[in-house]
Amino acid sequence: MSIRERLSGNEAIATAMRQVNPDVFAMFPITPSTEIPQYYAQYVADGRVDTEFITVESEHSSLSACLGAEAAGARAVTATSSAGLSYMNEVLYVAGSLRLPVVMAVACRALTGPININHDYSDSMAERDSGFIQIYAENNQEAYDNFLQAHRIAEHPDVRLPLMVCEDGFITSHAIENIELEEDDAVKAFVGEYHPEHYLLKKENPLAVGPYGVSGYYMEARVAQAQAMKNAKAVILDVAADFEKTFGRKYGFFEAYKMEDAEVAMLIMGSCAGTARAAVDELRSKGVKAGVIKLRVFRPFPGEELAAVLSHCKAVAVMDKSEGFSACGGPLFAETAGALFNSKERPLMIDVVFGLGGRDFTVTAAKSVFDRLVWIAENGVVDELYTHMGQRE
């Protein structure tokens, strides 16, 4: 039986962590993710979990401590944001290449500068090539549900990759909304225990972790890691199917809203997707065939699946909530355009960089993007490929 509650995104994730009761939580605080270890410290103090809760001196160390624990065969988690994630950069790549399935909550926040504590995806997008699986949430419910699925995906023998559960800083992390929680026992049964096949301290099968990879071996290791990321696609869908069977809430690589006959569509991530859906509802009532795709899984990137659902549209706006400084569009646009390149049919496409540093995204703003798409669809030409929206001129 689900439990009706109201929680912030941070408390929802901390609750999921408590229910999983991992062996190790290594933490260093940074806004807006700090409440996650703060709630967890209370669970430790109250004896509700038996996790080894390690307070360290930096994010570089928090993830390193998680890797040590994972290498020893334990289940480890951490949480961070923004500069904290950047400071982990070196260790993120180590986690991916060592194939250690640490699960990390990221309350996504802008990177400096100017210094800013509010939401965009500068931090997580900067780590898109680190080898972490990245799963994004629209709200507290999805953040909770994604965390419940995280360990099973990351720890699967075909995958064995680290995973980020991303929520929008403040917009999700600090907003209290209704949520359906699951019973502790049901969560524990769903997530299961972690018994890795290989680990550092297994005396029957001793293992070296992190040796030097000479040119004769490095490439094989990287290809195996790339294959694991490909394998993750099937596992993500399998775990989502079991999650739906167990708890009744459906997940996939993305959520397609009114896309069946959509002529103009928006590809967007996180909390803004709900705002975009409200715009679609208004436009549909006026006869505009608009749709929204909310991307949940950014790594592995579901290129073929996105191409299949977008190819029949006339015009598509990719909404990038981070600025990659490529001078030709943000990271989500580049990947989506690449995914569609070999499609026989494909829409005209624009990139809109928006919402940086917490700049608000409203229903009116979403409608203005659809207005542009309708014009592009009618005229068969892209007005401007790569633009920014919502800034003062």
Binding site: R6, N118, E138, I176, E177, S271, T362, V363
Partner: protein, 191 residues
Amino acid sequence: MNDMIEIRWHGRGGQGAKTASQLLADAAFMAGKYVQSFPEYGPERSGAPITAYNRISAERCSVHSNIYEPDYVAVVDETLLESVDVCSGIKEGGAVIINSSKSPEELRPQLRGYTGRVCTIDAREISLRNLGAYFPNTPMLAAVVAVSECVEREQFLADMEGSYRHKFAKKPQVVEGNLKCLREAMSEVQG
């Protein structure tokens, strides 16, 4: 969603406008509603103007933007009237609820031409009278419930009593004072 009520809170950092918005969400949640309570963070300085928001509805609201056209606005600190256009965007049929010892007519000239409903509540006096200290949130919460009718009065009072008895299980003596704050604020709100 026609039944959705949107509320914007204005306060100063440290006064608890964010907490008040969370308390209102709690009250509406207990009454079976879908709620959103979220703060808008700028530089986190004690005393700086801050904004918090509520959406209360029968179905889950998927919009996650700030609120520019609220049904109701709650002003926890009346000195904000000098520096913030608190009445900006209030919908027709809505109201502004200001924590002040003054009457709505006395405050209206400070509201930059706003012509809608103005309500006042002397949260300081009610709090000092019942709790012996200045906690503006409890009277403000009750005044917002009374004016907006976002939660039915008797259910609100019953739910809040249950909540206080749980929250103050080790300090039962403060429960009655808080409940009196709620009841008196609901009857003393002007406008």
